[in-house]
């Protein structure tokens, strides 16, 4: 303790040893302040918060610089929900004792949660608003506001007090009692709330007494006095029969049956439809999954079927290719023919005719392998080289021999043999007009005038500069007619055919005679037999 004048530390003397000031009263005042502080501390420890506030305020009235009392007062205010008042006390304490003050911790604890502090401040504003409503006689609005306050700031003692008072004023004693009991659990010795609670309980007791008496008055008309006991529990009037008859068991059974019926109905109308819908939903989901899987499998099957069809087509193509290679007209047989032709050429180099026939079988109907043909692609280079070599060696000679043999047969009158040889000779050498002419003549002599006419026309068109053209035209002009008149007869002798000039002169003479005959017919008014033949003869 220090001297109030000079600040020196006081001793046990009743005066200050430094300045001589009398400190007896000062000591008593400080002791009184500390006594109130201790009293407030004891009350706070037993949660007599309002009593603690009163004691601590007295302590501060004695000595406003009592830092401990001010800190404790702030702590009690905070516990009573008045956080702003608590902060104010701690800040004042901090100003009085800046160092080593526990108020620092309190302030830091509160300021560390600004949201909570803001909520408490809002609840304080609502409380003040409710108080304002009370001044305006708007008690209902005040009750609504105070309900919100005790919900958001459940330690605000004054809110419980004011709400309890308002309930008392509105004759709602039960609510008043309940809210006051809640407040008293926080501030156990709050005399104000205890007074209000006593008032509420008194009012409730008086009302219960009135109700009991009124029920007792009505008892003879409703219940026999000896059959029941009537008492009040809050707002509820309980009538307890003294002797419960055993007949109640039957009604209990009926009630149980009714309850079971209601339960079954609830099951049937509420639970079962929900279960059925749930089961249907699950079944639909599963069905959808199965459908999706089936669709995917079907797509796979389609793809595999397409692949099988493609492979089958490839297999057929490969089989056809193999068949084409190994069949009677296949490439293997061609190789055999070529080998036989080569063997025949080696054994009998002069038998070119047989070799040429064998070569002809190599390419089938075509007697040569033309360059760039599609068939050429199927043969190897060695095959082509051998074929070309044999073809070069035997074709010209074979054609010449066939031509000679054909002409010889023709001259001997063997026209069929001549036609066969000359046919082969012309096929071996299609540039040979002589072979074509004798071939046509052979057919003509053999009686095949259509084939002969065809070949003569071919000769005229293919070899227009040939020396046999004139003879061919002559045949075309009158050969067919002579064939018709001499059906079955032997054709013109080979000498006639072999002398084209004589034949031409004969044809010219025949044409002049025919022209004269036709002119005579024209003068006689007769139609010409063949304008075309006459024209052609005149042209010749």
């Amino acid at each position: 303790m220090r001297c109030y004048r000079c600040g020196a530390v006081l001793t046990e003397n009743e005066f200050c040893t430094n300045c001589g000031a009398d400190v007896r009263i000062y000591r008593r005042i400080i002791r009184l302040s500390n006594m109130y502080y201790n009293d407030g501390l004891q009350k706070a420890q037993v949660r007599d918060l309002s009593g603690a506030v009163e004691s601590l305020l007295q302590s501060l009235k004695c000595n406003r610089n009592n830092v401990d009392a001010r800190n404790l007062l702030g702590l009690v205010y905070f516990e009573m929900g008045e956080a702003v008042a608590a902060l104010s006390e701690w800040i004042v304490s901090k100003n009085l004792k800046p160092e080593k003050n526990i108020a620092d911790d309190f302030i830091e604890e509160v300021e560390s949660n600004p949201t909570r502090l803001s909520a408490i401040n809002q609840s304080l504003k609502k409380y003040n608003q409710a108080l304002s409503y009370c001044e305006q006689k708007s008690y209902d609005l005040a009750i609504i506001q105070l309900k919100k306050v005790v919900q958001s700031n459940p330690n605000l003692i004054v809110a419980y007090q004011l709400l309890g008072l308002l309930y008392l004023e509105s004759k709602d004693y039960e609510k008043a009692a309940r809210i006051l009991e809640r407040g008293i659990r926080i501030d156990k010795n709050n005399t104000t709330m205890l007074n209000y609670l006593k008032e509420a309980e008194d009012q409730l007791g008086e009302r219960d007494g009135l109700q009991v008496s009124s029920l007792q008055k009505k008892a003879p008309t409703t219940h026999a006095a000896s059959d029941s006991i009537v008492y009040q529990s809050g707002n509820e009037t309980i009538i307890q029969p003294i002797n419960m008859p055993e007949k109640v068991s039957m009604s209990a059974v009926v009630n149980i049956l009714i309850g079971l019926g209601i339960g079954l109905a609830v099951m049937w109308f509420l639970v079962l439809p929900a279960r059925i819908r749930s089961a249907q939903t699950n079944a639909n989901d599963e069905l959808m999954e199965v459908s999706n899987e089936l669709t995917a499998r079907s797509a796979d099957i389609d793809a595999l079927n397409k692949q099988i069809a493609s492979l089958q087509q490839e297999n057929e193509a490969a089989s056809q290719a193999i068949e084409s290679l190994t069949s009677g007209s296949g490439i293997v047989e061609k190789y055999d023919y070529l080998a036989e032709a080569a063997l025949n050429f080696i054994r009998s180099p002069n038998d070119v005719t047989t070799t040429a026939e064998m070569l002809a079988r190599v390419m089938g109907d075509s007697f040569s392998v033309s360059q760039g043909s599609s068939a050429e692609e199927n043969y190897s280079a060695a095959f082509r080289s051998l074929y070309d070599y044999l073809n070069t060696q035997v074709t010209d000679e074979a054609a010449k021999r066939l031509l000679d043999s054909g002409i010889a047969a023709y001259n001997n009158g063997d026209f069929n043999q001549a036609a066969a040889d000359l046919e082969n000779a012309y096929q071996l050498d299609e540039t040979n007009d002589q072979a074509l002419f004798y071939l046509a003549s052979s057919y003509r002599s053999a009686g095949d005038s259509d084939r002969a006419t065809e070949l003569f026309s071919l000769l005229i068109n293919t070899f227009p500069d040939s020396e046999y053209v004139q003879q061919a035209r002559t045949y075309l002009q009158n050969g067919a007619e002579s064939d018709r008149t001499d059906a079955g007869a032997q054709a013109a002798p080979p000498q006639e055919v072999q002398d084209p000039q004589a034949a031409a002169l004969a044809a010219f003479a025949a044409a002049q005679a025919q022209a004269a005959e036709e002119a005579q017919r024209a003068m006689q008014g007769l139609p010409a037999d063949s304008d075309v033949s006459a024209g052609a003869a005149i042209d010749q």
């Binding site: 009263i25 406003r64 008042a85 800040i91 401040n121 003040n128 004054v158």
Partner: protein, 52 residues
């Protein structure tokens, strides 16, 4: 019996954050120590006057 109007007068508005500063500045009230010092000063002053 509680008088509602009288009881209502005992309730006062609570301190809000906006009013905290004003409250803090007004806490410098006179306490018993201040009264004692004032009385002691007056007594000493009277003693001095009587001594003269």
């Amino acid at each position: 019996m509680i008088e509602f109007e009288e009881e209502l007068k005992k309730f006062h508005p609570l301190l809000e954050v906006e009013e905290a500063e004003r409250y803090i500045h007004n806490t410098d009230v006179t306490d018993l120590v201040d009264l004692m010092i004032s009385l002691a000063d007056r007594y000493e002053m009277r003693e001095e006057l009587m001594g003269e």
